[in-house]
Amino acid sequence: MPAGLFATCLVNIARPQIGLAAAKTLDLAGADWVFPRGQTCCGQPAYNAGFRAQAAAAAAHCARVFADCEKVVVPSGSCCGFLRKHAPGLADVAGDSVTVLAAKCMELSEFLLEKEFVPPPRKTPLAAAFHDGCAGLRELGIKKGPRKLLAQAGVTVSDIPECEVCCGFGGAFAEKFGGISAALADAKCENILAAKTNTVLAGDAGCILHIEGRLSRLRKPVQVLHWAQALFDSGGETNG
């Protein structure tokens, strides 16, 4: 059975470049993988808003879509965290399929490391500073994996100061409490500027859009990429 790539909504709509980079790593890792066409949202937004039944319905749909996949590869710590750690708690509504799905979900770096993937070295040098997304870090324990892959690709990785502190995104939180969220983002931006880097790397499209959105509003010329994009000179978008 192949592995299934789960785009996640934010990547699918707002930052497909991340998905392309993830797809490229899967190809290079020699993985047998598919992109199931029926995939939609995992249900996390409804879940965090307190809409349990709706979250369960979305998670169950997700389980159906990936039923024929041996693994589900997710280039996002928070969606993967939701499916793996939280969705099984919805089994009373969603049925056992969500428990099966949970056991199959792997964050991209976990999957690549399990495949013993070693990225080819970049041609152009890149120095970047890492921000650890909350869900990936605290729900899935992802910390060293992406750094290891980046180092193998020849990226010089440092940590931004307070790299484990939340950037303030929190999904709907950024909309409902825009001011507080911005205050958290400002603290994050200060740390990024203190790191004196041109490139910030993270593992979650939510953090990425949020941090880069605030940096842009503050007119700070720092790019924010998913770590998978940084593995490639081209950002992973082309075959180059």
């Binding site: 785009a7 990547v11 709509i13 998905g19 979305a58 484990e164 959105g213």
Partner: protein, 470 residues
């Protein structure tokens, strides 16, 4: 007496504009975090200790009624009188009645957040009993007429200059902004109050059922003075403070002080049970002649039977707020009365009902920083989510939010519709951003109040991969 609460969002907005507070927070936040990290590392297997703490406190909750009865028996046998207060009003009445019975005019009080919860000071003042806070932080706030900003460091947001001004206005000390001198002045001022006080009022960090004694933990020693100098002592404690065995106190203390301030142990730990009675023939005059212990329920029994049950494990260490980025940004006055930070976001709705300050459990990014440091492993974000679920179940959420979730779910269960909507959205964002960035969108005012959206390519990943024939 209690006014309707302002929403968290409104209070937080005001707090975000308070530059002095935010400056103070930026300065101190790192200190708590590194102190706790160092103390946990130095202990060794702090994770196992947290698990142990969780178990000790689970037993407290499981056996609460029986343990409380055991505590009552043992404390009464040692000469204390135990009262049960079903709610805040009952607790205030008992306290005032006890104070009146002894003709008290002056009460010294050590820090008690439970006392804040039931607004004890106001009731005592109304009854003509002057009440002096003796914890330095609480003393400062009493002068300033403010509520605690933090459960263990109530005045952490106050700067030295501000404190010097307050002292000068109240004729305490000789002026100047030297911290040591200010502390000395407060100490001198308070010492006189201790000696003159008719009653001492303390809280309790733990109540040990097997020995019928209350433990209080302080760094300034004011708790011990309040507990032992006046002839009458009143202890006010939530029923959740019960612990089965005194032999567990070492583990609980290690968890409490290391999590709170990074100390191996606090400067003072006072364990006292009853009162000095006729049996004490050692000729000494020390210790209270009367000790009233008030066990406060105020919603806790109901909590024990609810989904919020785990919150009763809380040992009030403050680590969750010390590690909360939202708390760091908005400070302790943005939350409800007495409790703040993640623990307040759960405890306040759990005690007062989910409609008391309905946005409280929503004001979290769910980053989980609190949960991983909580010494008794309370799943704080999970409990906040359960509160949200309860609001949804009781249909108290705004219509627009429910409509958005229903619509989104409807779309997500229909892949073709989803793919169409996603593609339309991607194209819309592309056009709205004109190739560079989106600066404003009417349906996301919160986001665009402070952030741009870098223009997406205009096609979804699903569309892009299709072209590559996946």
């Amino acid at each position: 007496m209690q006014t309707a609460p302002v929403s968290f969002a409104a209070r937080a907005k005001k707090a975000l504009g308070d530059a002095a507070m935010r400056g103070a927070m930026a300065e101190v936040k790192g200190k708590f975090i590194s102190a706790r990290a160092q103390a946990a590392a130095e202990y060794g297997d702090f994770e196992s200790l947290r698990e142990r703490g969780k178990q000790i406190r689970e037993q407290s909750i499981n056996e609460m009624p029986a343990l409380l009865r055991q505590f009552e028996q043992n404390a009464q046998a040692a000469g204390a009188r135990v009262f049960w207060a079903a709610n805040a009003e009952a607790a205030r009445k008992i306290t005032v009645a006890a104070a009146r019975h002894h003709n008290a005019k002056l009460a010294v009080k050590s820090k008690s957040i439970t006392g804040e919860e039931i607004r004890l000071n106001g009731a005592l003042e109304k009854a003509g009993i002057k009440t002096v806070e003796t914890d330095l932080g609480e003393f400062i706030l009493q002068l300033a007429g403010e509520e605690p900003f933090h459960i263990i460091a109530p005045a952490m947001h106050k700067r030295r200059e501000e404190i010097a001004k307050l002292f000068a206005q109240n004729n305490i000390g000789e002026g100047g902004e030297d911290i040591a001198a200010l502390t000395r002045s407060a100490r001198k001022h308070l010492r006189a109050q201790f000696l003159a006080a008719d009653i001492g009022i303390t809280g309790a960090n733990f109540l040990f059922a097997d020995i019928g004694a209350a433990m209080i933990v302080t760094n300034e020693g004011n708790g011990r003075l309040a507990a032992t100098l006046p002839k009458v002592r009143i202890t006010i404690a939530g029923i959740d403070k019960i612990v089965a065995r005194f032999s567990d106190s070492a583990d609980l203390l290690a968890l409490l002080t290391r999590s709170a301030t990074g100390q191996k142990i606090s400067n003072y730990v006072t364990v006292a049970s009853g009162a000095r009675n006729g049996d004490c023939n050692d000729g000494s005059e020390e210790g209270p002649r009367h000790h009233y212990i008030i066990l406060l329920d105020n919603g806790r029994s109901a909590m024990r039977k609810s989904e919020m049950r785990e919150m009763l494990r809380c040992i009030r260490c403050g680590a969750c707020m010390n590690h909360c980025p939202v708390y760091h940004a908005v400070g302790g006055h943005s939350y409800g009365p007495a409790y703040m930070g993640p623990m307040g976001q759960v405890l306040i709705p759990a005690l007062r009902g989910i409609n008391y300050m309905p946005d409280l459990p929503h004001a979290a990014t769910m980053c989980g920083a609190c949960e991983v440091v909580c010494p008794v492993k309370i799943p704080l974000p999970g409990l906040m989510r359960k509160l949200r679920e309860k609001q949804v179940k009781e249909k108290t959420r705004p219509f627009a939010e429910s409509a958005a979730v229903f619509l989104w779910t409807f779309v997500c269960l229909r892949p073709r519709l989803y793919n169409f909507a996603a593609a339309a959205m991607a194209m819309f964002l592309r056009l709205a951003g004109g190739g560079s960035k989106v600066r404003r969108l009417f349906f996301l005012p919160g986001w665009f109040s402070a952030r741009d959206l870098i223009c997406p390519p205009g096609r979804t990943l699903a569309q892009m991969l299709k072209k590559e024939n996946r």
